[in-house]
Amino acid sequence: MKVLVTVKRVPDPATTIRVLPDGSGIATDNVKWVINPFDEIALEEALRIKEKLGGGEVVLVAVGEPSWQEQLRTGLAMGADRAILIRAAAALDTLAIARVLAKVVNDEKPDLVITGKQAIDDDSNQVGQMLAEMLGWPQATFASKVEISGTECTVVREADGGLETVAFPLPAVITADLRLNEPRYASLPGIMKARKKELKEIAVESLGADLAPKVKLRTLTPPAKRQAGRKVASVEELVGLLHSEAKVI
């Protein structure tokens, strides 16, 4: 079984994000870059599927700048077999990213694609679903449990108000939610091995996907800051204020 895992490079979730004064983007000095946390979970799931089935291949794919090699190497060190970096200079919108990924899927012909449910920078939560539609494949978003038996796949999904279970034949696209698994760390031997693994670069233009941007980011502004209130001395004072001052209870 061949599993394709999509990888995006994002600021570490612990980084404090500051909007540039001219609104053109965020300040990137002092930003530590990591694999999107949901993509790490996607990769972990792919590795577990491979381990469970006792074979197969886990291929990473990223659509981004040369610097994204760093995150792909980390993914290889975690255990992926090889990686593909589709070099794209400009930030593409989700539709274009999905189109590029669809081209890669048509070339690579994986049995399964696992993406993160959302990139924690743009918070779009779109690419996996868009990719599934472009391929005409089933999708299981927000997966918290994946079971594969032969070419049949069953997924438990985090829905509103409970857990939904869906089933479908492979190939398919799954998007990983937080509770799917706990990603492993790259081991030292893993890091050594990763250096020798294949990391292929392809220029995005060579794939012939429609890249015309339809979503244009005009400007970023910092959100209004919420004023901190006051500390209260006791529970009695707190409940009293909620009643008489805030009038919420």
């Binding site: 500051r18 965020i26 539609e133 978003t141 927000f142 509103d160 279970t165 005009r218 502004t221 959100p223």
Partner: protein, 324 residues
């Protein structure tokens, strides 16, 4: 004509507040675009539900009638909704960014080759929209170029539509699509059972974090306060990951976004990912034993205390207040 088509999601036979928010947002956008706002209902009991929806000021309600639409599966719904947008010539397809909205809308967008913006919090007069990014650390002004376009709105950013005197006409359509090509099956739904108000509907939310330490403590320490206040219960990711409470109670960047009149954070440190889901609440209370905890930077009222002592006291005080 800038018509807006609103996807009217229903859960267990009724419209949650989040759907009425989509209608409210759709009506606002249609006014701005100079078009009509049309609701679309599909699935179980769609006929009856369409009748209910018709009361909320829409220009028209469309019922999609097709056997493949019983189970709200993404492959079938994407085809049916894309067909409907094209059939009605709508300019915008809109839904709330619920789990179902997030699941379906990008797939419809891809089918139509349409640009999409998720979690929109405002419509500007020049047709651009505003949406948070980076867990709410930045607000982006975004242009969606070309028509149709797809938008999900944040449930806390728009007013729910209210019933009006006249009812909209209801029209039944049978969408045309290749049902034989569909591959997804619904196996089952395991509902989180609760008699409490829904997290996204309650006017008071009490959330617990890792500080609660166990599922038993959620039950014995936090729940009495939740129930005394008639509140919904929420949680931080750490509490959900530890298995203290069900997944769908997670508040935050990658969970639910809430903005009740009162939000009480108990034993929650206030990581940016948590704040992203609650910082627009009207009044915020934090109970934490660490006076440096970042949650205090957004709290209107902060109590530095051991929650195991403070929360039972709060329950008693609230009870006293009610019987006063």
């Amino acid at each position: 004509m800038g018509d807006v088509l609103v996807f009217a999601e229903h859960q267990e036979g009724h419209f949650p507040k989040t759907t009425l928010v989509a209608v409210g947002a759709g009506l606002e956008l249609a006014r701005k675009q100079g078009g009509a706002c049309v609701g679309v209902v599909a699935g179980a009991r769609a006929d009856e539900l369409a009748g209910e929806l018709a009361a909320y000021g829409l220009g028209k309600v469309v019922v999609l009638d097709h056997p493949a639409l019983t189970g709200r599966l993404a492959d079938a719904y994407a085809q049916a909704l894309a067909w409907t947008v094209s059939r009605l010539g709508a300019e915008t397809l809109l839904a709330t960014a619920t789990a179902a909205g997030k699941d379906l809308m990008p797939r419809v967008a891809a089918r139509m080759g349409a640009p999409m913006a998720a979690d929109v919090i405002a419509f500007n007069d020049d047709a651009s929209v505003v949406r948070p990014m980076y867990a709410g650390s930045a607000l982006a002004t975004v242009e969606l170029q070309g028509k149709p376009r797809v938008i999900t709105v944040r449930a806390t950013a728009f007013e729910a539509a209210k019933p009006v005197a006249s009812a909209a006409p209801v029209e039944k359509l049978t969408p045309e699509f290749d049902a034989a090509a569909l591959k997804m099956r619904l196996v089952g739904f395991n509902a989180t059972k609760s008699d409490r108000p829904q997290l996204t509907e309650a006017s008071i939310v009490v959330s617990g974090g890792r500080g609660l330490k166990s599922a038993e403590n959620f039950k014995e320490v936090l729940e009495p306060l939740v129930d005394e206040l008639g509140a919904a219960m929420g949680a931080s990711r750490a509490a959900v990951d530890a298995g203290f409470v069900p997944n769908d109670l997670q508040v935050g960047q990658t969970g639910k976004v809430v903005a009740p009149a009162l939000y009480v954070a108990v034993g929650i440190s206030g990581a940016i990912q948590h704040l992203a889901g609650m910082k627009d609440s009207k009044v915020i209370v934090a109970v934490n034993k660490d006076e440096e905890a970042p949650i205090f930077s957004v709290a209107d009222y902060g109590l530095v205390a051991d929650l195991f002592k403070a929360v039972p006291e709060m329950t008693t005080e609230v009870k006293k207040l009610k019987h006063a």
